[in-house]
Symmetry: C2
Subunit: 437 residues, 2 copies
Amino acid sequence: MSARSMVTLIERKKRGEAQTLDELEWICRGFLAGEIPDYQVAAWLMAVRWRGMTEVETFALTHALVASGESFEWSEDRPVVDKHSTGGVGDKTSIALVPLLAAAGVTFVKMSGRGLGHTGGTIDKLESIPGFQVDLEPARLREQVAAIGCALVGQSPEMVPADGALYALRDVTATIDSLPLIASSVMSKKLAGGARAIVLDVKHGSGAFMADEEEAEALARVMVAIGVGAGRRVRAVLSPMSEPLGRAVGHALEVREAIDVLRGSGPPDLVELTLDLGAHLMVLSRCTPSLEDARIALHRLLASGVGADKLEQLISAQGGDARIVAEPDRLPTAPVVRVVESPESGWSEGFDARAVAGVLLDLGGGRRTKADRIDHRVGIRILVRRGERVEAGQPVAEVHATGSEAWGGASAAILEALGISSEPLEIVPAARRVIGE
Amino acid sequence: MSARSMVTLIERKKRGEAQTLDELEWICRGFLAGEIPDYQVAAWLMAVRWRGMTEVETFALTHALVASGESFEWSEDRPVVDKHSTGGVGDKTSIALVPLLAAAGVTFVKMSGRGLGHTGGTIDKLESIPGFQVDLEPARLREQVAAIGCALVGQSPEMVPADGALYALRDVTATIDSLPLIASSVMSKKLAGGARAIVLDVKHGSGAFMADEEEAEALARVMVAIGVGAGRRVRAVLSPMSEPLGRAVGHALEVREAIDVLRGSGPPDLVELTLDLGAHLMVLSRCTPSLEDARIALHRLLASGVGADKLEQLISAQGGDARIVAEPDRLPTAPVVRVVESPESGWSEGFDARAVAGVLLDLGGGRRTKADRIDHRVGIRILVRRGERVEAGQPVAEVHATGSEAWGGASAAILEALGISSEPLEIVPAARRVIGE
């Protein structure tokens, strides 16, 4: 096929026709090899964004992405589990979940990406731990998994290179928000990672990548179908997100909060999500027969502190200062830490998650472009949750900033992110829904 | 604005929002200057293909294209007219129309593009005349127009360069078939050419660029609106095309047929279209008060042969061998010219225009890619029209080929392009519709 053939494929997608596995593999290979120019791939991406893809086509694209690089295979004796979150503000679940499950006997290899825009990346958060290495050679990764049963690492560049190339082009051509492109991108990395059981945490609401619940459900269904088609056991948990998850937003602050979870003192919403996703993983990996059994087992582990011990092992294995687990003050701290007080009385409507993410970006704790460096020290701790009574002058948040000026800007912005109602709110606990087996 | 801003503009177009004149000028300027990468423009083009453009937006884009280069201005004393055809198989109307109108006292400067794919370009056809120069410096063009009142030239590269750059990218990204992109591309060249009165020949049907009449009408309406918005007098004539126009398809053969028209012996459909478009131009340029007066005047000119004299002047002025008008055998001829006979009896359903264009391409008389060279000698002469009785063994076409083998392939293909009905056809004369003032 030639550049002319790529015009034909764009033309067909533009008319809404489905593409074959052969064609999608040809596109991925040709793009990576520089044989198909980026402007043709850009036009094709927009045509995909426009016309969508069938479930089969999305599966085929995922397969083509996986085929562009190297995949991990793990021993059948010790099946590996994995999880993925579509991204949410303050989501540090993986940092607690991976050692917790490993402590429960479930081998957990979590490969993560970096954060961009309003969602933070697990890998970036872990780098706030002094010395922690996120890039492990495959051989060293295997050794570590054999030794301690878990790892929290960055994606290796040899894995799904076509996904990396396509993502970079999508980022500059306004084609990120395509369901089949998101689904195939996520699942290609999960499949190449070699896990046999995968739990997908698909968030929706103002703090999530997808605001709309129906869209989130559609994404979840496609991702589950792709995983099942590839012979994996997959389940998606749909969870709403309007407030940030937990109380901490910011890299070192979030690591600290994940440690709190493993010590049995985490914020209730984060503990609940950790137990929920963990229970699904235990059932999917056939460790426990029911979700109830799994939750009981995980609760015991949190109470006993063995999850925290496992996190220490993990940090040590990856070259980090494991003392931060027992002494979180060893994590980097911001020079200016001061509370922000509510100017009025009423009931909290909660902090808008996306606005809080914006404050973190302004504080220097996020990336606007891939080249940006992150300040791990800065962040926000939320002191009132949605529905709680607030008095004028009461501290509602704690802002961790690099200086007084940055603190001033952030404290004004964080107050704007908080809604105060003059009447009590009726709080309906948000239901999580499960999609998949 | 930066590359990030271009993402925002793509994003907005993707959501179906209209873009402003400032934004469209910024895109054209930035793309031409190499500051906006082609992959971003490619994604934007596909988003435009998807979401379309409002009439105002299409006008703004046309304005931005015109502003990217240099425009002609002609004296108010001698207003210049122009015409454009959306392209049809065997369409050599301009070659007869330009000298005919000039003979009638209407200054006519026709700037044309080259042919690509299934439609031939007027410029390419003219180059079958030995010595004929299609590229004139602006100063020489002005002199010629002052001296003889007409010119048939190629578009100068200084005119609407952004259109050329966008067109090249559209060609390789399957974004040619976008109504606002077609309308702005055509009208930018007409506006930059400086004509005060413009007639647009918008064809539809199997032999035209747009198969669908509704689409053709929508395109005509947008183009008229753009021209009127720019202060020009514009009229569009919608005409159906299933058979090729006239009897000749192929470069030298078409020049010969245009000469036939000017000598009063052209095929009826081509003469009719020439008179029709010519009459509209005479009315639009205020030369005659009514279409009837205009047709009578043009008829007289055809009978008197002054249009043919004007074509001789035009060819001489542009360095060509003007003797071809009196002695068309001086045009290049193909080595093998033989008729093709019908294998069966019945009534002709006509030659499918697109299929005939395909035969011309196979004979070497067209371009598949821009770099292809054209053989001006080859072509097809159609000997039976739709509705006519055909006997088995009767010559139905004449194929002009470079050799016997090429002739063989083409004669088989040309027979396939001809439908033969076992019953007489009811022929309804196709009505032309006029859009605009």
